[in-house]
């Protein structure tokens, strides 16, 4: 018995060379990137600021938190929610044809490659650059934010859509073909049932992310809760920061809980 175990050990693949090499490369990369860390003239009051933010969250400005006007937290949250919701839907609608055109099992390789490069290019431009471009179209406000959100969603949503489409089980289509179904019937009973759950799950996940990322839009004045948050932070009004952050955290947690429930249900059918 012992002999066999020893033999098994001896014949195990020798991977230590690779492991050592990988460790060495990682160590080099870390040492190289470590040079970026310069603890520049620390303003000194950093911990104080962190403390202020914490105490702000625990003592939120009740005035901001409870007013129902257009500058109160509830309305801002509603606006953020609406931007994220409509942005996700518009983005998903645009992604749909784009992802079918870039799925390598449906179209020729060349076309798929062009589609993929286009999607990667859309993903590279950061959100605030889009925000600036859209503000020229619509003027500052939530409309610009919505358009930015939808364009930003396209990148990730189409990437996940493409993966779902490429996982399609083509045998089902063949059997429907053999049963004499028309093209429409093949799409209705062969393709849609396979894709709906995955697509819905992706869209809900992206909505979740959009809600989180909505603060970025505030940087360029494209509506939502970001702008008031950043104004409050740069003018050191910690109670207002606390109120806004508290509202945002609660909203994100609620949406996350709901979306997790729906996605689990979708995954289990």
């Amino acid at each position: 018995m012992n002999e066999r175990i020893k033999k098994a050990y001896a014949s195990a693949p020798k991977t230590w060379v690779w492991q050592l090499l990988a460790a060495f490369i990682v160590a080099c990369l870390l040492a190289w990137s470590g040079t970026a860390v310069r603890v520049s003239s620390s303003t000194g009051n950093g911990l104080e600021v962190a403390g202020n933010i914490l105490s702000g969250i625990f003592h939120p400005s009740a005035k901001l938190l409870l007013t129902l006007g257009t500058d109160g937290v509830p309305y801002l949250l509603l606006e953020t929610f609406c931007i994220a919701f409509l942005g996700t839907i518009v983005g998903a609608v645009i992604s749909l044809p784009l992802s079918f055109l870039s799925a390598s099992n449906l179209v020729p390789r060349g076309v798929a490659l062009v589609g993929r490069v286009l999607i990667a290019a859309i993903r590279t431009i950061p959100a605030f650059a889009y925000g600036l471009m859209f503000i020229r179209v619509t003027g500052p406000g939530p409309f610009a934010g919505l358009l930015t959100m939808s364009l930003c969603s396209i990148g990730m949503v189409s990437k996940m859509f493409i993966e779902s489409i490429e996982d399609l089980d083509k045998r089902i289509l063949e059997s429907l073909d053999a049963a004499g179904c028309t093209t429409f019937q093949k799409i209705r009973y062969g393709i849609l049932p396979q894709l709906t759950a995955d697509f819905t799950s992706t869209i809900i996940y992206r909505f979740d992310m959009n809600l989180r990322d909505a603060t970025v839009l505030g940087l360029v004045g494209a509506g939502g809760i970001g702008a008031p948050l950043i104004f409050a932070m740069s003018s050191y009004r910690w109670n207002e920061v606390g109120a806004i952050l508290l509202g945002l955290i609660v909203l994100v947690l609620i949406i996350e809980w709901i979306s997790a429930k729906i996605r689990v249900k979708l995954a289990r059918g």
């Binding site: 179209v137 619509t138 939530p142 952050l245």
Partner: protein
């Protein structure tokens, strides 16, 4: 949703042998109704207007057009911030991914049997995840001063939350047989974990971390906007000065970098799984 079934009675089919089969009514109309209501509300609040889009949509391309041809003379000044961005992402991702391990283990309900601990750690991870990265970076700039340190910190926090969540879900789906066998043989729980669970989750863990790194390079470019170093800093500057041809050059360099890093990470992840 049983109320829904009570209002809209399920369709009953009687089979040839007399058994009745119920088919529940589709939920699609209800879901559609909710979606339409939310859409209408959103259109109202955000002021969505297709007419504006059609009429002035071409203005969107004003800046894009101004970016081409890109200002190649500016290329020389991009390298330093670009390296900063990459360094920030690598270091931040590494710190975040390593820090996430103990928290993920503590949040996995099959390893830690104490329910209170599991609940508290998960709540902590959720809270960190809801904190917007931009706010995190802004706080970090107050603490560490302007510069790459703040960006590294923000990326580390983001990576920590993301990898932590993914990792504890992976640990929970692991095959517990080897772990129990080692415990039965008298191994301590730590030893059993490192020998029986860790090898199972390692490939997926590395893959998730690499995936996060990919996203971080892209995200790091935004962080400069609040003064956290890297490409965002010069992007912000060029936007402010309306030098869109330089901005185009920055974006092209960023695009190539992201593609290269994605290519490397994609190849590595394919080997891992």
């Amino acid at each position: 949703m049983s109320l829904y079934d009570r209002i809209f009675k399920p369709h009953v089919y009687t089979l040839a042998d007399g058994t009745a089969v119920e088919e529940k009514r589709s939920r699609a109309p209800l879901i559609l109704l909710v979606l339409i209501a939310l859409t209408v509300l959103s259109v109202r609040i955000t002021g969505f207007d297709l007419a504006v889009l059609v009429k002035k949509g071409s203005k969107f391309f004003d800046i894009l057009k101004a970016m081409f041809p890109p200002n190649t003379a500016y290329l020389g000044k991009i390298w330093q911030p670009l390296w900063d961005t990459i360094k920030m992402s690598i270091l931040g991702s590494f710190i975040g991914a390593v820090l996430a391990v103990p928290f993920a283990v503590a949040a996995a309900s099959n390893i830690v049997t104490n329910r209170v601990v599991v609940f508290l750690v998960r709540l902590f991870l959720s809270l960190v995840r809801t904190l917007p990265t931009l706010v995190c970076a802004l706080i970090a700039t107050y603490i560490f001063g302007l510069g790459t340190m703040a960006g590294t910190c923000a990326i580390a926090v983001f990576t920590f939350a993301y990898v932590g969540k993914q990792l504890f879900e992976i640990i929970e789906t692991v095959d517990m047989g080897p772990y129990e066998a080692m415990e039965a043989l008298g191994a301590t729980r730590l030893r059993a974990f490192t020998a029986a669970v860790f090898p199972q989750v390692l490939p997926t863990y590395l893959s998730v971390s690499l995936f996060c790194l990919e996203g971080n390079v892209r995200y790091a470019s935004i962080l400069g906007y609040v003064g956290a170093g890297g490409l965002g800093l010069i992007m912000n500057e060029k936007i402010g000065w309306r030098e869109y041809d330089s901005l185009g050059m920055i974006l092209i360099v960023l695009f190539v970098t992201v593609m290269v890093i994605e290519g490397i990470s994609h190849a590595l992840r394919k080997r891992l799984t």
